[in-house]
Amino acid sequence: MKLKSRKLKKTTVIDFATYIGVILAFIIMNTLKSQGMLTRSLTGQLIPICCYIVMAVSLNLTVGILGELSLGHAGFMSVGAFSGIVAAMSLQSVIPSEALRLAIALVVGAIFAAIAGTLVGIPVLRLRGDYLAIVTLAFGEIIKELINCLIIGVDEAGLHVINATGTKSVNDLGLSEAGRVLIKGAQGATGTQTIASFTAGFILIMISLVIILNLVRSRSGRAIMALRDNRIAAESVGINVTKYKMMAFVTSAALAGAAGALYGLNFSNLVATKFDFNTSILVLVFVVLGGLGNIWGSIIAATVLTILPEALRGFADYRMLIYAIVLILVMLATNNPQLKALFAKLIPVRKGENVNGQA
C-alpha cells in the first residue's frame, strides 16, 4: 500500500507541476503584457505559441503515447482553422459575444478535425511504421490541396460552398448583396475578424492537458501505451487494437483542430498552404526534442522553439541555418551512445533516477 501511494505521487506530482507551470507562465505573461513590458513581436507570438503547444501536446499523444509516426498533423490544424473561421464569421451577426463565438469556433474546429481524423485514421491505422508515416504525409498534402480549392461565402440564406477546381470563381458562389466571401480558394481566408485571445489559448492548453494527462493515466490510456509497447501482447490480453488506435488518433486530431481554429482566428488573412508538410515537421520536432510521451517537455520545446527563430532575428539570414545546426547537434547529443556517456559524466545523474536506459 505504501509503495502504491509513492508511485501515485510521482505521476500526480509531474502532472500537477505541469498544470501549475502553465498557470504561472500564463499569469506572468499576462501581467507583463498588461504592463506593456513585452516586445511587440513577443506579444504577437503569445497566441501562436499557445496553438503550437496544443499541437505539440496532441501530436505527442499519437507519436509518443500511441507510438505511431504522423507526418500530417498540420492537416488537422488546417481543417480546424478553416472550419473555425467559417463558424465564427458566419455567426458574427447571430452571436454578438466574441468569447462565445470563439468557443463555438474552437468546438466546431475540433469536431471537423475529429471527423477528418476518423476518415484518415480508418485506412492509415491499418498500416505500420514508415508506411503509416508516408500515408499521413500524403493525407496532410491532400487536405492542404482540397482546402486550397474551397470557396466559401455566407449570406442570409446560409453558407455557400463551391469547389474552385477548374474555372469557378467567387462569382459562382451565388451570394446575395449582403453576402460575404469567407474563403477564397488559394487566397485563403481574408478579412477574418481576429477574435482569438491569449486567455482562450491558455484555457485551451489547460483543457488539452486535462484530456491527455487524465487519458494517459486511465484504463484507455494504458491500453494505448500497451499498443505502443507490444501490439501482439496487447491483443493477447483482449485489447481492441483498432479501437484504441482510433481513440488516440482522433483525440489528437480534434485537439489539433481546436488549436487550428484558435490560430486561424488570430490572423485576418490565412492561406491553406500555411499548413503544409513543413508545419507538420515543425510540430514533430517539438515533440521529439521535448521527449516522446513527455507532455511538459512538449510544452517547453514548443515555446522555446517558437521564440527561438525570433530571438535569433539579430542573426538575420543565418537564423534558420543556426536552427538546423542546433537541431542536428541536439539529436546527436541526446542519441549518440558516446556523446550520451560523455554528458552523463559531465552532468551527474540525479538521485534515484533510472540509468538503465544507457545500457
Binding site: 507519436v63 491499418r126 508506411y131 500524403a138 501482439i232 521529439v288 534558420m320 541555418l321 542519441n335 556523446l339
Partner: protein, 292 residues
C-alpha cells in the same frame, strides 16, 4: 495525339522521380531510414551544374560529372557526420536529424545562392517533331528516359554481380549477419549514400533541365514525390522504384491534364494510399508479417 504527348511528358517526369527514388530506396533498404535530405541533394546538384556551366563555362557533360562528384562527397559527409553516430538510435531521432540536414542544405543554399529562382538552361535544347509537328518530344525528355534506363540496368548489374553490390544486399537483409561474414557494414552504407547522392545529382540536372528554373526549395517536393514513388513501388526494391516512379509521373501528368491542376498531387497521393491498402508493402515489395 494530345494524350500521347501528356503520356510522354509523364514518362519523362516519372523517369526523374525514378532516378531519385532509386537513391531513396537504396538508402532505405540498407540504413532503414527516411532520408528527407535526399531531395535537397538534388537541389545542390542542380546549383553545382548550373554554376559550372554558367560561371566556369564548362561543357554540360563535365558539369554533370562535377555535380555528381560534389554530391557524392556531400552525401558521404552527411552520412558520416550526421547519420553514422546515430546507427543504434531510435529511427525517429534519425528522421529528425535528416530533417535538420534538409533545413541546413536549404538554408545554406539560400545564403550562397539567394532565394530568387535562377533560370536554368536545359543541357540539350530542341525537340523532335513527329506527325507533322503535332507531337513534339524534347531532347531532354528523351535523355531523361534514356538515363533512367541506363541507371536502372547499371544498378541491377551492380547489386547482382559485383562484390560491393552483393555486400549491399546482404546488409539490407541482415546487418549483423553481414558483419559476421566479414562485410564492412559502415563502408557499405557510405557507399550506398555515395551512389544515391550521385544519382541525385543526375536527377537534379535532368529535373532542372525540364523545369528550367532552380531555387533552394526546388528539391523538396520532387524529393517527397520520389519517396512516395519508392513506397508505391515497394521500398527497398530497385525495379519497384522504377515502376513506382514512372507510374507516378504518368498519373501526375494525366491528372494535371484531364482532372485538375490544383489537385494533381492529391490524386497522386490518393493512388499511393489506395495501393498501400491493397498491397501493404507496395507494388513489388514483399510483405513480411511480424513473427510471434
Amino acid at each position: 495525339m494530345e494524350f500521347l504527348s501528356y503520356l510522354i511528358s509523364g514518362i519523362s517526369l516519372g523517369s526523374v522521380y525514378a532516378i531519385i527514388a532509386l537513391g531513396y530506396t537504396m538508402v532505405y533498404g540498407i540504413a532503414k531510414m527516411l532520408n528527407f535530405a535526399h531531395g535537397d541533394v538534388i537541389m545542390v546538384g542542380g546549383y553545382i551544374s548550373l554554376l559550372s556551366m554558367s560561371s566556369l563555362g564548362l561543357p554540360w557533360p563535365l558539369a554533370v560529372i562535377l555535380a555528381m562528384l560534389v554530391c557524392t562527397v556531400l552525401g558521404v559527409v552527411i552520412e558520416g557526420l550526421a547519420y553514422k553516430p546515430l546507427r543504434s538510435a531510435p529511427s525517429l531521432a534519425v528522421l529528425i536529424t535528416a530533417i535538420g540536414v534538409s533545413y541546413f542544405l536549404q538554408n545554406a543554399a539560400l545564403l550562397l545562392w539567394g532565394a530568387s529562382p535562377k533560370a536554368y538552361t536545359p543541357i540539350i535544347a530542341g525537340s523532335v517533331k513527329l506527325f507533322e509537328g503535332q507531337l513534339s518530344i524534347s531532347y531532354v525528355s528523351m535523355l531523361t528516359v534514356f538515363m533512367c534506363i541506363v541507371i536502372m540496368i547499371a544498378l541491377t548489374l551492380f547489386t547482382g554481380k559485383t562484390r560491393m553490390g552483393k555486400a549491399m544486399r546482404a546488409c539490407s537483409e541482415d546487418k549483423a549477419a553481414a558483419q559476421l561474414m566479414g562485410i564492412n557494414v559502415n563502408r557499405t552504407i557510405s557507399m550506398t549514400f555515395a551512389i544515391g547522392s550521385a544519382l541525385a545529382a543526375i536527377a537534379g540536372v535532368l529535373l532542372c533541365s525540364s523545369y528550367t528554373s532552380l531555387m533552394p526549395t526546388t528539391g523538396s517536393m520532387p524529393g517527397i514525390k520520389a519517396f512516395t514513388a519508392a513506397v508505391f513501388g515497394g521500398i527497398g526494391s530497385i525495379p519497384g522504384a522504377l515502376l513506382g516512379g514512372v507510374l507516378l509521373g504518368i498519373i501526375e501528368s494525366l491528372a494535371k491534364a484531364y482532372i485538375s491542376t490544383q489537385l494533381a498531387n492529391s490524386i497522386v497521393f490518393a493512388v499511393l494510399i489506395i495501393t498501400l491498402l491493397v498491397r501493404p508493402a507496395g507494388l513489388l515489395g514483399k510483405y513480411v508479417p511480424e513473427k510471434v
